[in-house]
Amino acid sequence: MILGIDVGGTHTDAVLIEGRDVLEKIKVPTNSDDLGGSLLEVAEQLLGPVGSRYPDRVVFSTTISTNAIVQDAVSTVGMILANGPGIPPSRITTDKNARFVSGYVNHRGISVVPVDRREVEIIAEGFHKKGITAIGVAGKFSTRNQRLELDIEEIAGSRFSHVSLGHRMSGNLNFPRRVATTYLNAAVWDIYRKFIEVVNAFINRFGKRFPVYILKADGGTLEINRSADYPVQTILSGPAASVMGILSLADCVDDAVALDIGGTTTDIALFADGVPLLEPRGLTIGKYKTLIRGLRTQSIGIGGDSAVRFENGGFVIGPHRLGPAAAFGGPAPTPTDAMIVLGLTSPDDRRKAETALEPLAAQAGISLESAAQEIFDETCRHIARAVTAMIERVNAQPVYTIHELLEGKVLRPAVLHVVGGPAQPMAPRIAEYLNCRAEIPPHAEVANAVGAALARTTTELTVLADTEEKTLTIVEEGIRIPISAGFTREEAADICLDRLRERALSMGARTEDLELEITEDQSFNMVRGFYTAGRNIRIKAQVKPGLITGVERGDPSCTQ
């Protein structure tokens, strides 16, 4: 039995799943003043009084970290940054407590200038005197050699209750994003820690341990206590819950488009061969571009309640929502009103919808029905255009080998999966514009909670080997070990997969869900003076985002 809960901006969805059946589902308004409390309240409702039901696992998707960042209700963080040569420090987004220090590592992970102990001590002392309790440490190319960040931690760390280290956030290159990610992680650490305490106290009441997982932005889960030091991974898990929900409710094995049409916005996601696409460089939250691995989703300002106006000879839909549809007492005509007039959706008050649309029809000089049809078509066309543009952007993404350029995957979605209020009337029309087939998963109103419940634990790992330097680096774990000059790419791949398996298990993965894949596999001869001096090997592997085993894709019994 699995309990899945998604705390969204407006609603909290919860489901209880047993084997292949959804036993119970509820949807309640979210209390944004007490996110932790409302989450546990819902859990309690579904699990019943203590002692009546024990779930095998509980999965939460929560906006605790996201809200703290968006509302700027975060801790003050001291940042110690080793930027080395390159872009000017003024181009790095940090808050006011950022200090740049000497010391840097080059692109091969070779230490060029060591850390200046005295300089770091003075800065740390200054932060400490200011009452700062959490710091972030990030160095340029620290993913190539973690020594510099570890040295700074060793010199400064004892004065603070938390230190976020850049290389632990992601194995990917991008110093400005590493700085932002490290900052955010340290900034929400305390708030998130308190949330975990609340959750742990709740579970303790049951007298019996059961694992609790948190949904991450990449559509994977992480055991909650393992997430304590990496709260930044849990931001923006909402769209991930929705995408994983569609994945579990729909028969999605090919290239596909997923749409979640809401009142104000429509979220678009894409699947390649049934696997959701990830944001290539990392997620963006507010002004922060980060290295957080997350699903590639796009939100556009159009939905069932978008305000409609007539402008320059045509109907303009959104991006603003002035309230609910006119038929439901709202102030402005909306696509929902047009659908009511067309008889595509059951009217609450058809007369109100007609009254709201009449001035627009008069402006356009056409009949009420024609105006409704045109508004409906334009709404669908608008969404279809955004989907097409997103697919084009994905296909135009640069690649760096001749093989990929000539033979690379081209995304050609043939199916459109739609969830959300106006899914039923709009899906066929949008699909028509996109020249693909529309599918609406049944009982999609709790898709987010189902998605959270059935998502598997994911993680990734980067291994770099430099046979000239005779060093192997396991990036995200901060480990460097010696290797022989004859070390091969195959050995590096084996180590990467072994370590990834261990890492995933320690994060709460079940052995049967470990679908591992190598996502980057490069080996370059390093030639110096016309002789091969060594090999530069780069391997990246991941647990593929997906569902836990035992749940078939699109299994209708999951949607009872």
Binding site: P85, Y400, L405, F524, M526, V527, Y531
Partner: protein, 435 residues
Amino acid sequence: MHSVKRTGLIFFPAFDWAISPTHPEREERLLYTQDQVFEEGLLDFENILEYKPGLAGQDDINRVHICVPEASAICTESHLISAGGAITAADKVLRGDVDNAFALVRPPGHHAMRVVHGARGFCNINIEAVMVEYIRRHYGHRKIAIVDTDCHHGDGSQDIFWHDPDTLYISVHQDGRTLYPGTGFPNETGGPNARGYTLNIPLPPETSEEGFLFALDNLILPVLEDFKPDIIINSAGQDNHYSDPITNMNFTAQGYAILTDRLKPHIAVLEGGYSVETALPYINVGIILAMAGIDYSFVKEPDYNPAALRQDPEVTAYIERLVPALYDQWRQRGSLKASSDIGTFERRSRSIYYDTDNIHEEQIESVRICDDCGGVVTIDSMASTGNRIFAVIVPGRACAACRREGEALFAATKSGDVYRYVYLQDRDRDVFTRK
């Protein structure tokens, strides 16, 4: 202060292509550049836009080259992509999507001449030249300047534009007496109809920032001001760097960034540069920042030491004599033009060696002396591969007389016993024929 520009970046490191495993032109070449560009977060800057390269077509190649026996035999996919990358850069700039663009692509092209029997100087086809003629064909720009800052003389680019008064080709390079390909002397100034529009600036070994920037400020920039090109292209070779393993100059990442900042090319195209680990990452970041109008003063090599790179006074004195002399030569270019003998042909005979593919070529090139256009050109070329060909090139904006001559010569020359193939490249009408 710098003014921010929208800069297009076409980055194609071709991680699966090499001339041979230990050749300088190998998979590893742009690896550390990619690392540095990614780690600096350059692709996140809102005014730096990355684009995927397109593929050049056979017609794009045939507009510039006479490939023997044909383009598909000379160009592999890698060449079509790097030429395509240069074309993409041009498209983005000329359609107004960006203010300028950098094609950070490989393999390079500036040693590829008009007739191509194989690879020389790591180059098969001349990607800038392909781009220049593409621009003329699709956007109609006439006056184009190429400033070649590769350490090696761009003998291929010089050859292709030798007779074209609409293309100003300026090459600044290490003196040909000390480096491949051994050409690019001040007296190489262009054919009889384009005298002066080839400008070679050979600098002595161990020229530093000081010398390069002196030549830029006192010669290249004033000449560009006189010529008033519609478009400035930089053949951005990076082997003048002090750490380059196959050259002897003392230029730096800061120097390249300052040069780019002052030259303000519309399009930069990577050429050579083989200090892949200690120079290229920093030079390329410097060039990208300079093009985008972002502060590049923090870009420095880890071992950068201006004192150690200070220019020898003798080198300085040499450059200070050379530069004004070359500027005078440029200003007197009108008097260099052949004014008599209009309608006659001027010939030159050359031996060309293809070092990369070990091919020898003997070539006789003739140009019709003409006051009204670049002049019709014929080439009789015999290579050690056994191929002998004859080519007629009708220039862009060809005059009626040159067109008549060219068409007649093509009609009169038969393929078969003497010439394996006879080619007509009609640049004016964009027609390419082989018989």
